[in-house]
Subunit: 277 residues, 2 copies
């Protein structure tokens, strides 16, 4: 673990670290915000943020205005990169496949399988690393945006008991049924859609044993709403399964960080409620 960036922020410290990931077989960067209590050595709960397509560890920490909330609630904030990176790592010229577009799955297909194991990275290696290197408790929440909203929901649903809370902004809730997801899941997991069900929130909700309440915000002026996001599929799945969902459609809001920043305080409230319970 090597620290490559640090900035005082709201009485705490925004840091960026680099480490050799055993899971992904490459160097990975992660952003870590330490609130004042963590700097004073107290163990704090950890909230993991998963970013969307084309992002790396920087987008959330520079654009969301999240540090003020983490400081107020004394939470550690961790934002990893969205895929493995580097010259030896498979890639694709499109923005929605390869580096910057890991979709938080464990790939089984060539050329992706050797490095693209973002699910194992996010759900196992990352929390172990964070809980070893920082004053972090084992109380974990997870949230994210778009591809990262999908990542947060899928990761929480696949690991009952590992997260106390989950929420999402404009998530891809049914990757099996929309173009972004179909392209990525076919590439990473193979052409057979039956293999995609374990990576699809709408499918996973139907068999969830743990009923973690979901908070989802979705902008109604989001350009990807009807083609890629389709929150009505999540709404129907939760209703069928009796899974608690608060889905808020926000009139006029788009897919940008301006949207995320506007409702971030309420996502922190949602997580803190569970993390401090």
């Amino acid at each position: 673990m090597e620290r490559i960036e640090q900035h005082a922020s709201f009485g705490g410290r925004q840091e960026v670290w680099q480490h050799d990931s055993a899971t992904l077989g490459c160097k990975m960067r992660l952003a870590v915000y330490l609130p004042p209590a963590a700097l004073a050595g107290q163990r704090c709960p950890v909230l993991y943020w998963l970013s969307g397509l084309t992002c790396n560890e920087q987008n959330f920490i520079t654009k969301a205005g999240a540090q003020q909330h983490a400081a107020r609630h004394q939470l550690i904030l961790v934002a990893p990169d969205t895929s493995p990176r580097g010259e030896g790592v498979a890639n694709d010229p499109a923005y929605d496949l390869g580096q910057g577009a890991g979709f938080y799955v464990n790939a089984t297909q060539e050329p992706w399988a050797p490095h693209y194991r973002m699910q194992d990275y996010v759900a196992a290696e990352l929390p172990a690393l964070v809980e070893q290197h920082f004053p972090a408790s084992d109380r974990r929440g997870i949230f994210g945006h778009s591809m990262g909203g999908h990542g947060a929901l899928v990761t929480a649903l696949r690991h009952p008991g590992r997260y106390c809370s989950v929420s999402a902004f404009s998530p891809i809730v049914a990757p099996s049924q929309v173009p972004w997801g179909q392209k990525a899941l076919a590439a990473y997991l193979g052409d057979e859609p039956s293999g995609w069900q374990d990576w699809d929130t709408v499918e996973l909700i139907g068999r969830a044993t743990e009923k973690l309440p979901l908070l989802v915000d979705q902008g109604e002026a989001d350009e990807f709403l009807a083609t890629q996001l389709r929150p009505e599929l999540l709404e129907a799945a939760c209703e069928r399964a009796g899974h608690p969902l608060t889905l808020r459609r926000q009139p006029g809001y788009d897919h940008s960080y301006y949207f995320i920043a506007s409702f971030l305080a309420e996502h922190f409230e949602h997580h803190v409620h569970a993390l401090r319970a």
Copy 2:
């Protein structure tokens, strides 16, 4: 005036506009945040933000987390670019001269004189434009960062009565005495330092008739503190002139937007106090 970007944000709207500037002789972009009251047609006071070296109209609106404060206080926020731009506009390969580095002066020297009239743009054309096109009152505040902190202080001091309030983050308070300022002022205004005095906060404070109270935040871990910023020169000038100054040295903070975001709420309080008086 052509709107080229708009995003819902904290119940208001973040917009970016482009217009042909008569003062600068080129197309200019400006960011305008309209709080909820302005969208409802109420006239609101306007707070102008001037950015630092290398910035354009985007940096402040994407990184500072300012919209939440503007929404809460019902202020219009305006962030112009930091220089004239375009192919026909003089430039320099260095980051601290030419495009992105206008220093908010009116240049008298070639090749800069034809376009580099940022002081006239910021103090006259910009407010006239804003007050014509948006539901803006004529109550104005001005603030900025680094080169833009210099710009805010100089602009307010050169125009008594035009601004109700002024503040700055890590401003260049004495450009005549530091390398950034000496290079830029020599290029834009000529080699004779006596011509620089009208563009130097520490000089202007000595002859200010209007005693607008100054709020200045300065990070103590700022890498430019001792060479370029030198807040002790402002402190001494204000003490000599009996000019009200609140200078806050913030331990551990650097020159970044993480610093600005951390103390922005208090700058809004400072401005609102005067703008609503």
